[in-house]
């Protein structure tokens, strides 16, 4: 079969089983778009800004486990995609981004819409390629998908100069069945001696903690995590990225850990004697002050990326491998071991944890006449029976979502954890809805974040992706305002949003349904009404308490045991604070 470069790119996508391609056309990719026009297998989703294409494809990948695919033009198309590429990179999301480039002959001449995409993206991709020959496209695409989806996943950029996709230059096409890369071989099994050491340590524990991360979700190891955790009966905490891998409504789950984690999780980490970190990377939002992190614990760390191990925290038993495989190895080794769990110590440990749980660290003022954002998220959970896919933007609303929408399944919670990209939520919701047309999809956002990619309301209309936008509108960049309250004596420098649009009219202008909710008693009926409209995108502008803060909070430079709580442990909630 002889095909042109443009046709080859599209044919490669078909051969990879790609169903959706998120993109935006432009000069350098016109040949490619012409090839897309002449086929029906790969559906192209036209976004309104390239950043949104990367977020939508990224969320599609997070919700399905399949790679997300993006197509953008050279120059500004490529640079607009960079934020989304960096977002995917920080959260290890498999993404293949095809960018057009100016013709080979003019590369380096500051040609119109030329930018060194390979150079610009180098620090925020797992790998990138510049294709120099038509005959190299198929092999490069195969490598791109292979690298993006195996090992620790990540984004891969394939930069293709315009002449390489010329419809008049045809070459024989064969999609390679295998990839041969001598320099790239991701690990699989963990070292059995390390597994043995880990099991000895786990079974000797008096105050154990299972600290699970996004790697469990990415590694499709949720079942293995559940089996392993139940086998031991140890308390399970999770990072922001790992939520859902272990069911949040399970009594063994004690909440998220870290900066806005639960009191019980953070105290548990601080007091623990043996911690097993599973597909988690000891991010600074998790550890707090490193010198005070888990002072009494021996640490076991499972990660597929050797560079994640001992990067910030020294560990006692590192195990490099795929989390699912390593967890199975651990489970088998526990069964085979002659040692047994110290059930007496474990019971005492659970008693201690229950005492911490009684602090009720997430409690908020339920009597308030203003809508509390926590309340809105709780009602969203009830109305969707906990089954929705939730995307979020970045800030207070993201933390409320993580705290008040308990996820029982992986890949339901979709947020930008590592890079913290405002503007992620709406395009992400569109990507998720396209992946799961029959599921409820909600974007929990705020009035600041939503405006960073609000133009995607137009994409939602074009492709009829009926998502529900839960806009927790407190007229502030809430998290910035909170830090300014705590650390800058209330000098709210540029965190107040004047001149907000009328979101109801804005939603209507894009062809959607808009609702404004101002009283607590209206929240539930509005949510019910919105979710009953199965085929409409609904923008719920929920006017919330401006002064509400996210608690608990470990402030910058503090340890896990040094949390700022809404009220001191043991005292009833103080109405005056609200």
């Amino acid at each position: 079969m002889e095909l042109s470069g443009g046709q080859i790119v599209v044919q490669c996508l078909k051969d990879e089983g790609v169903e959706l391609l998120f993109g935006y056309p432009g000069g350098a990719v016109l040949h490619l778009y012409d090839a897309i026009f002449q086929q029906d297998d790969v559906q192209h989703i036209l976004v309104r800004h390239e950043q949104a294409a990367t977020h939508a494809a990224d969320a599609y990948a997070r919700a399905t486990g399949k790679p997300g695919v993006v197509l953008v033009t050279s120059g500004p198309g490529a640079t607009n995609a960079v934020t989304g590429i960096a977002t995917a990179y920080m959260d290890s999301i498999p993404l293949v981004v095809i960018s057009g480039q100016v013709p080979s002959a003019v590369i380096g001449s500051d040609a119109f819409q030329e930018v060194d995409m390979v150079g610009i993206t180098r620090p925020c991709v797992k790998h990138n390629f510049l294709v120099k020959n038509v005959a190299d496209i198929a092999e490069t695409m195969k490598k791109a998908f292979h690298v993006a989806t195996t090992g620790r996943p990540g984004p891969v950029v394939v930069d293709i100069p315009k002449d390489i996709t010329d419809p008049n230059v045809k070459v024989p096409y064969v999609y390679p069945e295998t990839v041969n890369m001598r320099s790239y071989e991701p690990p699989r099994e963990g070292d059995q001696r390390q597994v043995q050491k880990a099991v000895d340590l786990l079974l000797s524990a008096k105050r154990p903690m299972i600290y699970s991360g996004g790697g469990v979700v990415l590694g499709e190891a949720s079942d293995e995590l559940r089996a392993f955790s139940r086998q031991l009966g140890y308390p399970v905490t999770s990072t922001l990225m790992g939520l859902g891998a272990f069911p949040a409504t399970d009594s063994q789950f004690i909440g998220m850990l870290g900066m806005h984690g639960t009191y019980e999780s953070n105290m548990g980490m601080h007091e623990s004697d043996v911690i097993i970190a599973i597909g988690a990377r000891f991010d600074d939002r998790v550890t707090g002050k490193l010198t005070e992190f888990c002072p009494y614990a021996k640490i076991i760390h499972i990660d597929i990326d050797p560079a994640s191990i001992a990067k910030t925290v020294k560990v006692d038993v590192p195990i490099v491998g795929e989390v699912g495989i390593v967890l199975k190895q651990l489970s088998a080794e526990i069964n085979a071991s002659s040692s047994r769990i110290d059930t007496e110590a474990l019971a005492a440990w659970w008693d201690q944890i229950k005492e911490w749980q009684s602090v009720n660290c997430l409690e908020y003022d339920r009597e308030s006449a203003l809508i509390k954002p926590q309340y809105a998220v709780e009602q969203l959970y009830k109305v969707t029976a906990g089954n929705a896919f939730i995307t979020s933007d970045v800030g207070q609303h993201q933390m409320y979502a993580a705290q008040f929408y308990p996820f029982d399944e992986p890949r339901r919670w979709i947020n930008s954890g590592g890079l913290g990209t405002m503007g992620f939520g709406l395009p992400a919701a569109i990507g998720v809805k396209l992946a799961h047309p029959d599921a409820d999809v909600a974007c929990i956002t705020g009035e600041a974040s939503i405006q960073m990619c609000i133009q995607e309301l137009s994409t939602a209309q074009q492709y009829q992706t009926p998502v529900k936008i839960i806009n927790l509108n407190n007229r502030y960049m809430g998290m910035v305002r909170q830090w300014q309250e705590f650390s800058y004596q209330g000098r709210y420098s540029h965190s107040y949003l004047e001149a907000l649009p009328d979101f109801v009219k804005l939603a209507e202008a894009y062809g959607h349904v808009g609702m404004r909710i101002e009283k607590p008693e209206d929240v539930t009926p509005a949510l019910e009404e919105a979710f009953a409209m199965k085929d409409r995108t609904v923008f719920l502008d929920i006017i919330t308490d401006q002064k509400e803060n996210v608690y608990p909070m470990i402030e910058a430079g503090k340890g896990h045991h040094d949390m700022r709580l809404r009220v001191a442990p043991g005292t009833p909630i103080d109405r005056e604070l609200a």
Binding site: G119, S183, P306
Partner: protein, 164 residues
């Protein structure tokens, strides 16, 4: 501590910038860096001299290994090895100092490879330490300019980094 990291890397455009970019992005220090193709034209050999605590060196090695283009690497500081660096040094000469500078070059087994009425260019190889010593030894004379390749090296013995 000083480490000499010897890297076998795919001989592709941009491979060098991936390594250099990694060092600048993560705040690691590069003392010297040399790179050239090997007998296998698809592979380049890069020698990188860096300094850092054991923790930093461990991360550098892991992060380098993570680069898709890196085939294999070794820290020569961990093994018995031979290290060499090439220096070209141009020294201003006076009629009264020419003999002494030539003698000094001979002592260090350098070669005078370019001569004018008032200058010598001396070629010298050796460990970086030896080259430092020579520069110090002739520093009483006017050094016009110096170029050094940075260290390269190989482990002693019959072994090789090259796979297969």
């Amino acid at each position: 501590m000083r480490h000499i990291i010897s890297i076998l890397i795919e001989n592709e455009a941009g491979a060098l910038s991936r390594v250099a970019g990694l060092f600048s992005a993560r705040g690691y220090n590069i003392e010297s860096l040399t790179v050239a193709p090997t007998d296998d034209v698809t592979l380049s050999r890069m020698t990188l001299v860096t300094r850092g605590s054991d923790d930093v060196i461990e991360q550098i090695v892991k992060q380098l290994n993570k680069l898709i283009d890196v085939v294999k690497l070794t820290d020569l500081a961990d093994v018995v090895h031979v290290e060499r660096e090439l220096m070209l040094i141009k020294v201003q000469t006076e009629p009264s100092s020419r003999a002494e500078i030539k003698r000094m070059a001979d002592i260090f087994r350098g070669k005078v490879i370019d001569v004018t009425s008032n200058s010598y260019m001396i070629e010298m190889t050796g460990s970086s330490e030896k080259l430092d010593a020579f520069v110090a030894a002739i520093s009483t004379h006017n050094i016009i300019e110096i170029v050094r390749t940075g260290a390269t090296g190989l482990p002693r013995g019959a072994g090789s980094l090259i796979p297969g």
